[in-house]
Assembly symmetry: C2
Homo-oligomer: 211 residues x 2
Amino acid sequence: MPNSYETIPLPVIKRLPRYYRYVEGLHQHGIATISSSELAALLGTTASQVRQDFNCFGGFGQQGVGYSVSHLYKSLSNLLFSDTPIDAILIGVGRLGRTIAHFITHEVKGFSLIAAFDTSEKIIGRSVSDVPVYDVSTLQNFCKEHSPQVAVLCVPQEGASKLAPSLFAYGIKGFWNFSHYDLASASKDIVVENVHLGDSISSLGFRVRNL
Amino acid sequence: MPNSYETIPLPVIKRLPRYYRYVEGLHQHGIATISSSELAALLGTTASQVRQDFNCFGGFGQQGVGYSVSHLYKSLSNLLFSDTPIDAILIGVGRLGRTIAHFITHEVKGFSLIAAFDTSEKIIGRSVSDVPVYDVSTLQNFCKEHSPQVAVLCVPQEGASKLAPSLFAYGIKGFWNFSHYDLASASKDIVVENVHLGDSISSLGFRVRNL
DNA sequence: TAGATTGTTAATCGATTAACAATC
DNA sequence: TAGATTGTTAATCGATTAACAATC
């Protein structure tokens, strides 16, 4: 019995893309069937976890046989990527913002970057990855007209804290947040995926120094 | 009684940079003392967690009084950043690599980027963020001579899988891994911090679509 | 039917939260 | 001394792992 998606543990959701990547590889290698224990060995996890995870979505396997790779591939693909991509906007067209813009437009499935916003006269009116860069002051009108669902925050903390309330108001549902501003506690109806590069490398430093 | 650092739970370690950021802010605002519950309210967590976390390192507070911000700031700073920075090398000087190079050299405490490596003739011999770009074939000699402790992997999965065994052999202790190659299971004596941007945005997409 | 492997329930483990004794 | 707040132990919660019945 498929779980309602709201009840699926976040750790399971975060593992989905990894499953997808490995299953895609198997599919491309022409492997037809795989068992939970074989897949677990590949991923470096346990067969139990693989089966528990898949069963959050109703289970993709066949008892006694295993998982059909093509069926699994299609199922994971359907879960992760709908046929209509999610419209996203980029806030902050600095060095990181430009790199992320390129990443989204060239290497990511399921998203469509439709505009970018900045405050610098130097970049407003130009484009990044074939996407126009507008003045932040036009954000409200743009959102009203195009209803983007996701905002990618590549601005410093201060800018993010100023813009966040507006972005909620304009109907942004999801944030890919590279800033240090804390969006988490905002609302139950929005989702936030934080990428804190500074925290990431700092914790690596701690661990390396205390090896 | 201070915990041996090896026994400190990873989730606690990963929270350290965030504590540091908030305490730094308090320090800069001239706040002298803070209680675990006040800090918890700021961070959006519980006073219990704050105290438990700090007590992994012996505890920084004074009963009945709270935490001295300047003492706390100094303690967290000492935990996260030693006076001698960690020497790091960058593998892969593409778009992402260049952005990360700039980030490490300009925005990160505790690390020193000392060289970059690539396979492309177009970039070898040039520099990124004032760091020379060498041919990957010179990696072994460079590591023998300079003993970098951390490698930042900004290459595609294939390149990472080819280079990883060498990097272990050359004495690299820590990896900041932006590739999809799985370093995790390699050894107990190395630490890996993965930044899987593709997985990150994909899981965001799933959650946005199923709000 | 026997063997294999899933789906699912039960047990374990670890992390978070709550409670409280120590102490400033 | 009384009030406050920590350090630390105990209870809870959730996620992972193990076990097993269902079934291909």
